[in-house]
């Protein structure tokens, strides 16, 4: 309220000049960019400006004398509470939000920022409430949208961080793929996720990786099984096109090419959105991730960007594995070379030597005394050496064991151990032997070899059991003993052997764990998931 100017001397202060008020007030009311009104003590509209009348959806005249509840029933509960408070306390209530709908908005929810102030008469009594109301719906929506975006970006960033961390740690491509499928699908609300990897022998061919993600196993069981059998060529169908082009594809119309029969199944499942993303290593496409949803999810720039990152992380895992594969192959090649040289060169040298020593023995004759004795000793030694060289050269060459022969090979291993002093070893095989190929069989055998070798050397065990069990869920190779066990702190020291076992497991997509058995001794478990 303005102070009266000094020197007025008896004139009424303008603000108290009752004759001036109505005009001023009218002017303010009319010009105000906000909603204004006055309630009396019963909550009846005494005056209201055009703006607020518009907000309320009724002409000014229909407000005067009516209560809040009659005009804006949806806001009445909130408003009446505030009214009572102002009237009773005589204190203003500022900066609060009123939310609801009015006739003007036909059910749409709006939000207003309100200030409700007590109106006093000349005696200072509260006789009503002065209201200022501003529609902040749009501003609020903007804020909420911004907050939502921040939340989403943070969540996306978190997901990318998690994917990166996992990519660094993962021991196998399958593990990394599975993790990514799950995180991405959960984050983006996909119902089914899967990955394709190019065949090693024929890079033109996309093979289904044995990993998937789904929100509903039962519902998607048939789709999953079909997907796991879908082989595509570069350029063929949606995933094939992504593979060939290195560009993601995202559609909310069911694509007419997903692979044999998949389209029908997808349609039956109510799938509407399909998206496939490339996994990149440098500039090469080394895999394709595909996702499906029964909700319509429009292509989203943010998702495309994060998928590019996910793709790159996965690409690193795949590259790393390919590199490790090459290293192992190199070292196996080296072994093979050594084995072959032993066989070809050293072996032959020894043959020549054997011939000479035989001749020497003959020349010396049967009764040549110490010289003859010595010659015979040398012949014996040469024979032994030849035997060892033979065994060594065979051992160095990683001859592949076929899948069906794995059991026989493990039996041979068990027999070998059984024959060594103080240790008994038995083999237990259960379930239909299901090992997909020679490479897998070989690695499993080598893992068993390594584990058993460690036991023989370190554990002081008396009983060893090698178990190969197989069912729908997994093929499990277990080597157990009753020795002194491996104290957890020492596990690290097992060093190369354990690392190599882990690595071999990784090569075939299996996991390897070493733990102390509850009843003493150690248990090495190699678990190869999946039906084969």
């Amino acid at each position: 309220m303005r102070e009266g100017s000094p020197g007025d001397g008896g004139r009424v202060a303008p603000e108290n000049d009752v004759r001036r008020r109505p005009a001023e007030i009218e002017a303010i009311y009319a010009a105000a960019p906000v909603g204004l009104c006055v309630f009396d003590e019963q909550g009846r509209y005494v005056r209201i400006n055009e703006r607020l009348a518009e907000i309320n959806g009724r002409p000014v005249s229909e407000h005067i004398g009516r209560t809040i509840r009659e005009v804006v029933p949806d806001l009445a509960d909130q408003a009446e509470a505030i009214l009572r408070r102002v009237l009773e306390t005589g204190e203003p209530v500022r900066d609060f939000e009123l939310s609801g709908t009015t006739l003007a908005w036909e059910g749409a929810r709006r939000t207003w920022l309100e200030h409700w102030l007590p109106l006093r008469d000349d005696a200072g009594q509260v006789i009503g409430v002065n209201v200022v109301a501003e529609d902040i719906t749009q501003r609020k929506q903007g804020m909420e949208a911004l907050e939502q975006e921040v939340r989403e970006r943070t969540s996306a960033l978190q997901m990318l961080r998690d994917v990166a961390a996992m990519a660094n740690r993962s021991t196998s491509v399958e593990e990394a793929l599975e993790y990514c499928l799950r995180r991405v699908a959960e984050h983006n609300g996909w119902s089914f996720g899967h990955a394709f990897l190019p065949s090693a022998e024929e890079p033109d061919l996309l093979l289904p990786a044995y990993v998937w993600y789904t929100t509903d196993s039962e519902q998607f069981a048939e789709f999953r099984d079909l997907t796991l059998r879908t082989v595509l060529r570069a350029g063929e169908c949606l995933p094939g096109r992504v593979y060939a082009s290195g560009e993601p594809q995202w559609t909310t119309d069911l694509p007419h090419e997903l692979g044999p029969r998949r389209v029908e199944l997808a349609a039956a499942l109510g799938i509407t959105t399909t998206a496939a993303f490339p996994v990149m290593a440098q500039h090469r496409v080394v895999g394709v991730l595909e996702f499906f949803s029964d909700k319509t999810i429009e292509p989203d720039q943010g998702v495309l960007e994060s998928m590019a990152s996910v793709g790159t992380q996965l690409g690193r895992v795949i590259e790393r594995k390919a590199f490790q594969d090459r290293l192992l192959t190199l070292s196996e090649d080296e072994h093979r070379r050594i084995g072959q040289e032993l066989h070809d060169d050293v072996g032959q040298e020894l043959t020549g030597l054997a011939l000479k020593t035989e001749t020497l023995a003959e020349l010396l004759g049967k009764d040549a005394g110490p010289a003859g004795e010595l010659a015979r000793v040398i012949i014996g030694a040469v024979d032994r050496i030849r035997g060892k060289v033979r065994a060594l050269s065979r051992g160095l060459v990683p001859t592949e064991i076929d899948a069906p022969a794995l059991e026989a090979a493990l039996e041979g291993l068990a027999l070998q151990v059984d024959e060594s002093d103080g240790m008994s070893c038995r083999l237990r095989c259960e379930g239909k032997r299901r090992v997909p190929d020679a490479r897998t069989a070989t690695q499993l055998y080598r893992i068993a070899q390594e584990a058993v070798g460690n036991l023989v050397r370190h554990s002081g065990a008396e009983h060893v059991e090698i178990a190969l069990t197989s069912d729908e869920a997994a093929t499990v190779l277990e080597i157990r003993d009753d020795g002194q066990g491996i104290p957890l702190e020492q596990k690290g020291k097992k060093g190369m052997g354990l690392q190599i076992m882990r690595y071999r497991a990784g090569l075939i997509g299996a996991t390897l764990t070493v733990e102390s058995s509850p009843d003493g001794g150690t248990r090495v478990t190699c678990r190869l998931p999946g039906r084969t």
Binding site: T351, L353, V397
Partner: protein, 220 residues
């Protein structure tokens, strides 16, 4: 007159050892040595041996081939094939090629001299086991089950298979056997079919393993 022996083997230590062995015998002498087919034929012409001891694995060319060619040049030469490869597979082929005996290097350095004498005398030399095996095949042949797949390979295919197992590439194979790469491919294809192998990688692995397991003498 001491028996004149020609030694054909690609490894110098083996030639030397055998030469010492033969040299210590009163009734035989080494008249020449060679490491590959070409050299062998030259020395053959120059020295006219009575007996030739031939390894299957040679620097260039193939021992079985050489046996056939020696026989073609000079019927009178008696040939003993001496190799690290298993009897079961090569004994019959060696005899078919015209040799009189087959002896495996691993177990029989003690018997080499005996083998040379038998062959010199025009008699067949085989281990007892091998002899029994071949006899029973010859007699009850039609009732016997089919040969193991490798036995079903032709001589040439077996050559190719072995060389693959020894690590030769197709190109090196073609050079070694003096055949075209196309022919090598055809052989590889037929080998794969006969041995039921699906890919080049499988072929290499099977061949490598087979060559190394040959060390065992009797193939398992």
């Amino acid at each position: 007159m001491p028996t004149r022996v020609l030694i054909v083997d690609d490894h110098p230590a083996v030639r030397e050892g055998l030469a010492v062995r033969i040299g210590s015998q009163a009734d035989m002498e080494v008249c020449g040595e060679a490491a590959d087919v070409g050299e062998a034929l030259k020395v053959l012409a120059a020295t006219r041996p009575d007996v030739a001891v031939v390894d299957i694995k040679l620097k260039t060319g193939d021992g079985l081939d050489l046996v056939k060619r020696i026989k073609a040049r000079d019927e009178s030469v008696r040939i003993l094939v001496w190799s690290v490869y298993p009897d079961k597979l090569y004994a019959k082929r060696a005899l078919n090629a015209g040799a009189l005996g087959y002896i495996n290097k691993e177990h029989t350095t003690g018997r080499i001299v005996e083998a040379i004498r038998r062959v010199r005398d025009g008699k067949v030399y085989l281990t007892e086991e091998m002899a029994e095996d071949l006899l029973s095949r010859a007699v009850g042949g039609h009732r016997r089950l089919t040969d193991t797949p490798v036995e079903a390979l032709s001589d040439r295919e077996l050559q190719v298979y072995r060389l693959i197992g020894e690590g030769l590439s197709s190109r090196e194979l073609a050079k070694r056997l003096h055949i075209s790469p196309h022919t090598v491919d055809t052989h590889r294809q037929r080998i794969k079919e006969k041995l039921n192998l699906a890919s080049a990688a499988e072929l290499t692995q099977a061949a490598t393993r087979w060559v190394l397991e040959g060390e065992q003498g009797d193939s398992s």
